[in-house]
């Protein structure tokens, strides 16, 4: 199986461990990730907050390159995924927009392919059975709060993926790996990613709420499928602890990091040693390193 792969800017920098894990996991599952040559930034929040045409055109260029190969696009970042879907929708519903986009990108994007997120890829396309078949080490002892974040499932009219309030697909994957998933109400609450630099105090409040709920629900770690969520939750954790006078020291993993660990890859191979919240002691305690 072959699928176009759009890492997005984060996966080449702050989310490098997600990139490494995706590649190892895909290879083990027999999937060829065809990285879109010379892909450009999706524009993230700044683009859709600044212009109605810009975000669609930026994403259409990447989608068009994949469409020429007849491939759908795997977008591991929830924000990129969401922006790509918006571009596919715009091209399919707005003739005028499509013409202007194609003029700007110098290609003929027809909107026949789509974007797929990482959980969707593992759960809907690969399937739990094929994942289970590759497991070498059960992740027993882990108590995981699956944190989907907002853009993976919302708005449902756009994503058409899982349930926007209580999604289950990531939980099913984590269950299959042998870890325990906890029931908690903040699965799809927002971490505030877009305001991380310009209004950091908002992030501290939102991430504090997420961590305190995860702790109260009995989790010892979080798992996400988005480099923005992962970065936000780990990078600002110390500042959050200081601001609210609490102690979390809670690691936040990407879904493919956990899948990779259970497939028998070492934390180093998966880039898990590159986290902002040091997880050495945690992984040792859980006998995963």
């Amino acid at each position: 199986m072959k699928i176009a792969y759009y890492p997005g800017c984060s996966l080449e920098s702050t989310g490098i461990e997600y990139h490494l894990s995706n590649k190892l996991v895909a290879k083990k599952l027999g999937v060829e990730l065809w990285e879109i040559p010379n892909w450009n930034c999706c524009g993230a929040s700044p683009a859709h907050q600044s212009d109605l045409f810009l975000p669609n055109a930026l994403n259409a260029r990447n989608l068009a390159i994949a469409e020429e190969e007849g491939l759908d696009v795997l977008a591991p970042c929830a924000a990129c995924y969401n922006r790509m879907l918006a571009a596919v929708e715009a091209v399919n519903t707005d003739e005028d927009m499509r013409e202007k986009i194609n003029e700007a990108i110098g290609r003929n994007y027809r909107g026949t392919n789509t974007a797929i997120n990482m959980v969707q890829f593992l759960h809907d396309i690969i399937g739990i059975e094929k994942i289970t078949a590759q497991i070498q080490k059960k992740l027993s002892g882990l108590k995981v709060a699956c944190y989907y974040g907002c853009l993976l499932v919302k708005p449902p009219a756009l994503t058409k993926f899982d349930n926007p309030e209580n999604p289950q697909s990531m939980d099913r994957i984590v269950d299959a790996l042998g870890a325990e998933t906890i029931v908690w109400p903040y699965k799809t609450e927002c971490c505030g990613g877009g305001l991380a630099i310009s209004k950091t105090e908002v992030i501290l409040k939102l991430t504090n709420e997420i961590f305190s709920m995860a702790v109260a629900s009995g989790a010892d770690c979080l798992v996400t499928a988005c480099p923005m969520c992962q970065l936000n939750l780990e990078l600002r954790q110390k500042a959050t602890e200081k601001e609210y006078n609490v102690k979390y020291n809670m690691p936040v993993f990407e879904i493919t990091e956990l899948v990779g660990l259970s497939f028998g890859f070492s934390p180093k191979e998966l880039g898990i040693n590159k986290h902002f919240v040091n997880n050495d002691a945690f992984l040792k305690e859980k006998k995963l390193a």
């Binding site: 490098i16 010379n38 907050q49 990108i105 630099i197």
Partner: protein, 190 residues
């Protein structure tokens, strides 16, 4: 807020309102003010108006006040409101449209740092094709005069080898620059 005469405000705002509705595809008249959007909004607590109030103000013709409000700049686009809205109003997209129009019309921006961040981010994309983190930090910090922004976390980023001091220049830079050029042409044509 200044004093406004409601009946004249509504009449005077009609052209502006129809422009907002036309561009955002959101019909604010459909809202019956249940407040579900405000209840789930993660940034309402720090804003002058909630999403519900923004829509109410548009219904009442208080377009100037909305263009100057914090909410249109604070919205993170998480989608809680549109997911739960019983009238299916795409409020994040309405906020995006309001932000874009308020800037085009030269209204004072209530959250300058958000605007500077967005602008700095897009500059790096326009010139390199991708986000250039170190460049974004330099641009944002000098333009917002927050010289120490991100400096608490920057050393860790470099130590872990996550952020490069150099940009990643893609081969399709011209194509990307062309997209920005086309956007400016379209803005100018209006």
């Amino acid at each position: 807020m200044e004093q406004v005469v409601m009946n004249t405000a509504l009449k005077a705002s009609e052209p502006m309102l129809s422009e907002i509705e036309h561009k955002s595809h959101v019909d604010v008249k459909k809202c019956y003010q249940c407040g579900t959007c405000a209840a789930g909004c993660p940034v309402s607590y720090t804003s002058d108006y909630s999403p519900r109030q923004v829509v109410k103000m548009l219904q009442a013709g208080l377009v100037d006040e909305v263009y100057k409000s914090h909410m249109i700049w604070l919205c993170v686009g998480c989608g809680n409101c549109v997911t739960r809205c019983p009238r299916n109003l795409n409020i994040p997209h309405l906020h995006d449209t309001l932000r874009i129009l308020s800037k085009e019309k030269g209204y004072p921006c209530a959250e300058k740092n958000v605007d500077i961040f967005n602008d700095s981010f897009l500059k790096t994309v326009e010139y390199t094709g991708r986000l250039y983190e170190a460049g974004l930090t330099m641009l944002y910090n000098t333009r917002s005069r927050n010289f120490m922004a991100g400096m608490d976390v920057a050393p860790g980023m470099f130590m872990l080898g996550k952020i490069s001091p150099f940009p990643h220049l893609i081969k399709g830079r011209k194509e990307v620059a062309n997209i920005f050029k086309k956007m400016r042409e379209m803005k100018g044509a209006k």
